[in-house]
Symmetry: C2
């Protein structure tokens, strides 16, 4: 390693050691104190809007010079609406119940002592994210509320904005009497810092990458620390032979068009052969009216053509494509089983729905589709921590271990066992 | 890759694809059918003792030729007691409640539909283990009962025995009408097979290494699939100033000597300065009577010397050494806080205990020690799935995510959300 890389490795290691020490304190502070820090941060953000925006302007100017796309500049921007969103989010999290300390289970051992399972923080969580600066505040607050220390490593595009926000977080922690090292921002965007961070197993217990597939893949392939992944969604809607046509149209249109660029929006539509001629044209007209491009297999295409509706041919690749846009792939199936096999093969185990009036078929689908959230007669767009009653979310896990689906405060926790007796020994 | 390596990669990939397909079936079969397979396996083992032992003899002979140590040959041996243990274990697991399908939570959405969180299997679990052939049966059964397909990769020393056991597992699955590919044994000990296996993220959802630290480290550094680690334990006992001397002696002697070669045995003893002169000699005599070697810091050494008890000097390295043998490191501390800092610094976050009559000090310790299991006036030797009422265990996780401490059938599961409505869309 060069001297510079060694310096960065030392810097990051020290940050992690400080975070680990802070996490031991943070695990046992009262809820009231954590909430005080969160509410103070909300105030500090409100009091420092001009400062935040002037720092943000530096990032935006650098981004324009560097030739960032409009979409990237948009993500980078900390406008008043986004600032208000951060503040509002902070106050919401402060109002949520504290997940730490909850008793999850108690077992009475035959030798007359108790084993209690209690929810505790995970420890130190590393958040690796890209250009949205509001992630700095959102993640710091969720980790803090769940008693975890956090190390934030944001994208270089948002460096000035993130640094400014991180300074406010430190102030809020100090003013609430909490260790200021409980939330730390990596003060360099050198890649060496990330590479060091991802190997600090002794100090950091969990890594959460927030961003595009490339970032998540890089992090999960290079981290020796457990990673909770939030990959995107290839979500499928299945219109069964027992589906009500109006309900099918309404759900398909909603799942595809209400917010097409998010992970719980639908990408594939399966229609049962028996209702193809009647249901598909109605659904397709609803989609076309919202500007959706239809890609269809030959059988669906023939039906659409007969009804005078334009479509393009769907390719094998389309079935596993996440458009994140106003395009949908349509395929005809002959049975619920065929629909489930399709979803388990091409989908991303995120959110899938069946539309049917038949409870038996629905039960088969709910059990047989291997996805984190499976819907019966409801739009896939509801996969979300707020909609699921979690009060907040740090993301939607596409993993099977620890957390699956929307991750709220409880999913940011681990547990420990407290064993209490009066001298018991094992024989 | 060489042709051979390509062949092995293809072989392993096919095994994983078959396991993935089998897992989708297995996730939804009735408990009764899984139990039938487990009970049939118990019978088949009993019916095939001579065959199993003759295959085991081949491994033992090869092991002797290869110069395995006595301890390794002992681990390899499938004697009648171990066979009886496998059979008994199988019948116990068959009798346990099925963790799959249990409703964990229900949320009523304001738009009048329900979101139910239900326990489901993880999917496909890869078990990487060393020379104990009973792991083949133990792990196959635990995965099967929890609805998971499993891929077993045992050590080369036990290859004949493992192959024979795996054949019986396949027969039991078939006779119970379950997919025989739900449990598969990798039929080669080539390292290329392991390297392929650890990258099959699409088919395999979880890797559990069972064995020594070297194996676990290799697996966790080379796997792109989430790994649940079962590292060893550096467990500490703290005799507080308010400890009863007799209870302290009893717990320390039990935790150190009852079974010194396991992960929940104690390695460090901390004694509060205020009770040093009286408590330490009594505890030390109890330990010496069981043949324990004492390694002490200067202050403890002086006390022991004054009492006429032999000891060796403890080094800095000793505080984080897992002896797994009749040796203990002893250190004097001035406060509960000092004890907790020591444990959080040198321990392995496994199992630690305080002996005290003071409930306030105990509560501080139970909260402040960052370990998966923290004991008050109980021996650390109880950290175990059976002792914790889990009915069985696949290991003791030293991770914070997903499972921490003893892992039973429930810890071999994930969950999914089933959402049921009547046409709800998001606005």
């Amino acid at each position: 390693m060069s001297t510079e890389a060694t310096d960065i490795a030392t810097l990051v290691k020290n940050i992690a050691l400080e975070a680990r020490a802070a996490s031991l304190t943070l695990a046992n502070v009262p809820s009231e104190q954590k909430n005080r820090a969160i509410l103070r941060l909300a105030e500090l953000i409100e009091e420092n809007v001009p400062f935040l925006q002037s720092e943000n302007t530096k990032d935006l100017a650098a981004g324009e010079t560097a030739g960032l796309t409009g979409a990237m500049l948009n993500r980078l921007q900390l406008n008043e609406k986004r600032i208000a969103g951060m503040v509002e989010g902070a106050r919401q999290v402060a109002a949520l119940p504290d997940p730490v300390g909850e008793s999850l289970d108690t077992y009475k051992h035959p030798q007359d002592f108790t084993i209690e399972k209690v929810r505790v923080p995970i420890g130190v969580i590393g958040i690796i994210y890209e250009s949205r600066p509001n992630v700095t505040v959102d993640c710091a607050i969720l980790c803090l509320k769940s008693g975890n220390a956090s190390i934030l490593r944001g994208g270089k595009e948002a460096f000035h904005t993130n640094t400014a926000l991180a300074a406010l977080v430190s102030r809020a922690l100090e003013e609430a009497g909490l260790p200021s090292k409980a939330v730390q921002f990596i003060p360099t965007t050198d890649r060496a810092a990330l590479n060091t961070l991802l190997k600090l197993n002794e100090q950091i217990q969990c890594i959460i990458p927030r961003g595009g597939e490339g970032l998540i893949r890089f992090v999960s392939e290079n981290s020796t620390i457990p990673v909770i992944k939030h990959y995107d969604g290839i979500c499928t809607l299945y219109v069964d032979k027992a589906a009500d046509a109006a309900m099918a149209e309404s759900i398909v249109v909603n799942a595809k068009t209400q917010y097409p660029s998010v992970c719980n929006a639908a990408e594939n539509l399966l229609v049962h052969r028996e209702v193809l001629a009647f249901h598909l044209p109605q659904i397709a007209r609803g989609l076309v009216a919202k500007g959706v491009t239809l890609k269809a297999d030959p059988e669906a295409a023939a039906t659409l053509e007969a009804a005078g509706i334009d479509c393009e041919p769907a390719t094998e690749e389309d079935w596993s494509t996440e458009y994140l846009d106003l395009t949908i792939s349509i395929k005809v199936v002959g049975s619920n089983e065929e629909a489930m096999s399709f979803i388990n093969k091409y989908g991303s185990s995120h959110s899938d729905a069946i539309i049917t009036a038949d409870p038996e078929t629905a039960a088969e689908f709910l059990n047989g589709v291997d996805s984190s959230t499976v819907y019966w007669n409801v739009s896939t767009r509801f996969t979300d921590g707020f909609e699921f009653g979690l009060g907040a979310e740090i993301g939607i896990s596409t993993d099977r271990l620890h957390a699956r689906g929307p991750m709220g405060l409880r999913e940011l926790c681990s547990y420990k066992y407290k064993v209490v007796g009066n001298g018991q020994i094992r024989s």
